[in-house]
């Protein structure tokens, strides 16, 4: 059961981050050509794969399981809370939704300003594509490493992230436009809730706390945090409309 949740969490996280990365790659492809964009993206993905291949086994074999669970649980919890917080602020209107169209326009303008080169792979375009894919992918790598090592499914988690990334890039390239219709905030909220559930479970288990029904309590935690997040969105929406009424001129 927990394997399915791990795969789902990794796949969703990868999808969210790769939609953002693809927007940058499309901007590079439009201005500097697909070759530059693809070389940049593949180089970044290879760098990320090396990080997982080096750090993953080192974590599994070099750190005792209880210490690993506590440290990984704490990192997952902090990461998840940051994602959920951002998603709640966006859902309640206190923070602007991520706008892929605006990011695309900005990248295209900046890349056009940099001019063209005679080489088949443009160095500026390559840097933008590499940096965009690497930075967005790094969050996925952290999630893959934390969820994968602690659950004992590092290879499955890595495969889930890679397949999702390729799927997002494939869909985006076929449609040849930025994927602004993807419900990114809802997906971010879903991943965040899963991350805080795993983070709570592992950090407590690492500190010798025994959960009732073992792994099954993760499902209970997901349900509890989903309801809590929904209530927090309602609370912020209510507070915001009260605030708007106070500020509005009579």
């Amino acid at each position: 059961m927990s394997t399915t949740v791990v795969i789902l969490a990794v796949a969703l996280a990868s999808a969210v981050e790769m939609v953002e990365a693809f927007t940058i790659l499309l901007a590079v492809a439009t201005t500097k050509g697909w070759k530059t964009s693809l070389v940049g993206a593949v180089s970044a993905l290879l760098t990320l794969a090396v990080i997982v291949a080096v750090l993953g086994p080192a974590l599994v074999h070099g750190v005792p399981i209880y210490a690993l669970r506590t440290v990984v649980g704490v990192i997952t919890l902090i990461f998840g809370l940051q994602w959920v917080r951002k998603a709640i602020l966006r859902s309640s209107g206190l923070k602007a939704l991520h706008d892929e169209d605006a990011i695309y326009e900005r990248e295209v303008t900046e890349l056009n300003r940099s001019g063209t080169t005679k080489s088949s792979v443009d160095p500026i375009g390559f840097t933008v594509a590499y940096k965009g894919t690497f930075l967005e992918g790094l969050e996925v790598v952290i999630i893959v490493l934390t969820l994968g090592t602690t659950s004992g499914h590092l290879l499955t988690a890595s495969l889930a992230a890679t397949v999702t990334a390729l799927f997002v890039f494939g869909v985006g390239a076929t449609l040849s436009r930025q994927l602004s219709k993807v419900p990114e905030n809802k997906m971010k909220m879903g991943v965040g809730v899963m991350l805080i559930s795993f983070g709570t479970f592992w950090s407590a288990e690492g500190l010798q706390v025994h959960w009732p029904y073992s792994d099954l309590s993760i499902v209970g935690l997901i349900a509890f945090y989903a309801v809590a997040s929904y209530l927090l969105v309602l609370y912020l929406q209510g507070s915001r409309s009260k605030l708007d009424r106070k500020i509005a001129p009579r």
């Binding site: 704490v74 809370l81 940051q82 917080r85 709640i88 509890f224 809590a228 605030l243």
Partner: protein
């Protein structure tokens, strides 16, 4: 030295960054769980989700207050 400083900054941004309240809440949780283990509390697993939700609530309320100013 620049690489070490850059790495330190990266870790700081990743784990603390704009949300030090969240990190403080999680640190409180770890301490509470450690203490509950020492004191042999009967249902320590109930602490964890409560501390997490309270941490999230205060972090969001802090943001709301910041926005209203």
């Amino acid at each position: 030295m620049r690489i070490v400083r850059g790495f330190g900054r990266f870790i700081w941004d990743l784990l603390i960054g704009e949300t030090p309240g969240i990190t403080a809440g999680v640190a409180t949780l770890v301490v509470a769980l450690g203490v509950s283990d020492l004191l042999d509390v009967s249902v320590p697993y109930l602490f964890a989700p409560l501390v997490v939700v309270v941490t999230l609530f205060f972090s969001l309320r802090h943001q709301l207050k910041g926005t209203s100013k």
